[in-house]
Symmetry: C2
Subunit: 209 residues, 2 copies
Amino acid sequence: MARTTGTKRAILDAALQLAAERGISGTTMDDVAERAGVAKGSLYYNFSSKDQLFEGLMLEGMSALTEALREARAGAQGEAAIEALVTTLLGRIKANTPLARVIAGDIFRTDRPWQETSFAFRHEALAEFAAAIDGAGRERSVPAGQDPGASVTWSTQLMAASVFGATLMAGLEWLVSDPDRPQADVVDAVLATFGRSREPAVVQAKTPR
Amino acid sequence: MARTTGTKRAILDAALQLAAERGISGTTMDDVAERAGVAKGSLYYNFSSKDQLFEGLMLEGMSALTEALREARAGAQGEAAIEALVTTLLGRIKANTPLARVIAGDIFRTDRPWQETSFAFRHEALAEFAAAIDGAGRERSVPAGQDPGASVTWSTQLMAASVFGATLMAGLEWLVSDPDRPQADVVDAVLATFGRSREPAVVQAKTPR
């Protein structure tokens, strides 16, 4: 997705700040125009409605996340793929906590105009985790490019939701309780929950970070 | 907590339905009065403001949850305590999905008047998971009655958040994707994520359900 700039970017950023502070339902177009420092005409020129604005914001965030997860999994095999996904998701939560909060609060809402698209993205994100779990169990990964969710059992789908939920909740807890702790400590704690530990090679590669 | 009945109960139930459908911010006191079938005077007689109403709703739900978790952990030792907590949390999500959705969406909001109380409840709920994790690792549990969070390390706190988040997300995914599946299958999938399996004795005890 091309990076959005200028007025459109300012509007999306203001909408995100406000949604993180007071929820999507609690945010009005007037609030967004004021926070972004743009005229209402300019706001409506860029986004014809509040629904369209927040749909754009959610989709931008969710597609960036699924793309990052896809890349992370494609670059790793077996057990390391799960670690790569956990590390990537934690990194995104840290890099954009307001967005993580807004997505976390929206992910199981059933009243949003963007519900179907949001559902599709959740499915895609979970499919990456499912493929990594499948690959770790069978010591092989689903090739990049192939639909990783194609042959996933319901039980693997639930395990994928578990790994995703564990990482999301641990990440948000990290940033609420002690955000100065290094990300590697959070990765360790999440992997320890799964009875796993970081791959030595990956620890090595990440030391300079 | 004494069970709320009559008009107050009807108001709380209507508020929950509406919040699950359109969010707390998207729900007005007028909506609640209409859905509950009570006059506005009666609504305001029971709850002086929308904040007071939703604070009451959240606290009722969260205190029932932490009490159920406390009981579940107190009745089990070591590994079985984790299974008991996972089973209890999934049972509550199944029994009151709208409430689970509303709490899940609210848990990391930082703008609610009830934020401090909500934070305290989250801490209490996580402390039960932390005590179970500690107990499983050290093959002993923190005695019931003793503050289970007193000596918990940060890493155990994050693992507790992981187990809680895994169970919550798997539970919501269960109810979105295939709610007719038996709860035991979901418990199995969550425990498998942690590299654990159900205790044979517990499987036995639950078969007739």
